[in-house]
Symmetry: C2
Subunit: 242 residues, 2 copies
Amino acid sequence: MPKTAGIILIGNEILSGKIADVNAAYLCRELRGLGVEVRRISVIPDEVEVIAHEVADASRDYDLVFTSGGVGPTHDDVTIEGVARALAVKVVRHERLVAILEGYYGDRLNDAHLKMAETPDGAELVGGAPLRFPTVVMKNVYILPGVPEIFRQKFDAIRERFRDAPIHLRNVFVRIGEGTLADYLNGLLADFPTLLLGSYPEFSNPEYKVKVTLESRDQGYLEQALAELLSRLPAGALVKVA
Amino acid sequence: MPKTAGIILIGNEILSGKIADVNAAYLCRELRGLGVEVRRISVIPDEVEVIAHEVADASRDYDLVFTSGGVGPTHDDVTIEGVARALAVKVVRHERLVAILEGYYGDRLNDAHLKMAETPDGAELVGGAPLRFPTVVMKNVYILPGVPEIFRQKFDAIRERFRDAPIHLRNVFVRIGEGTLADYLNGLLADFPTLLLGSYPEFSNPEYKVKVTLESRDQGYLEQALAELLSRLPAGALVKVA
């Protein structure tokens, strides 16, 4: 059974338009490449109750959940508490994380730093070496930081554990509009009901009017659907297949 | 009472990593500038039931809801149906939209095009002129297209109806880390409990280590909090205020 995923971005700075997220776009691409189907992205504020509610739903609905943001030492870093509340456990200090922080901060270590050693009770640590800091996983929830460089480093260190059967993709570019194309796509779906079929109009591209995407985990089924679509399209409609 | 908003992006192409959204980031910035507080962004697939569920929740929880995507003539354009189901009404053909489509397509008008004249029963049309196509509003749900240029044009035509009391912002840049800063921020929040206070570390900027954001709808309160923070920060910690 192929895996599904939910992505939860935690951060007032995104909702208030101060920064544009890049982590979800990155993670969607990476997970798709690994064969994981992302079913939802949520962007929510730095509020414990909202986080708890969102994580509880996602942890129940999807195989994998990834959170981004809210894991530093300040007052607005409440992701750990939110995840703990979602899964009905306490927040505890993790010995191994305390040791890492002691090694890094030495004499300067204070309570604020030690907040970064907190995890939901029962959490695992994964993907530590060669990174300084491992990733905290609670049940099926992977807790990642909001800073994009670190987000990517940490995901890279654990990515292979998510690999699934690949989702194959073919793109068909046509010079007819969606209004004309619609019937052809409906006809194709009637014969290939499990095909993932997307239709994306392009209004400012002189080369083509619509990009049609065909996807399936079954490569034979995909190639059959593609051949069928190409044979049905009106003469001259096709620009290219890629 | 200041307005809250939810943004719902409808599109498999975002979840599968084929395109990175720009509409939510744009809308967050614009709404913030208008004084509207965005409380959630959701990205969900082109599926009627999922859309209906999400829109029903958002329409109940927020003053304003904006959807993006899923409004063309093809099989994967199911936003209208989802919104109608969320608000327990039928989908109908809107006379005024039919007339606009007739004017545009003339003899070439077909059933697929006419799908774009469908609205939830009871919907209003707003912001038509000078645009060809007005925006469909059902209750508090504004239905916008996914194509970024058109999304912006349509939002621009209706933006002034959302204007609210402004949210004032001040940025404080410091050269101390979050671990040291945390206590100062906690102290400030104890004295200014309704202040919106954000802390954003910067790991690759030689100028400063953390950007602190202070926000309030009350400018006097904001300036008082800012003065208090500046007076409390350790000597040499401040880089600049902006």
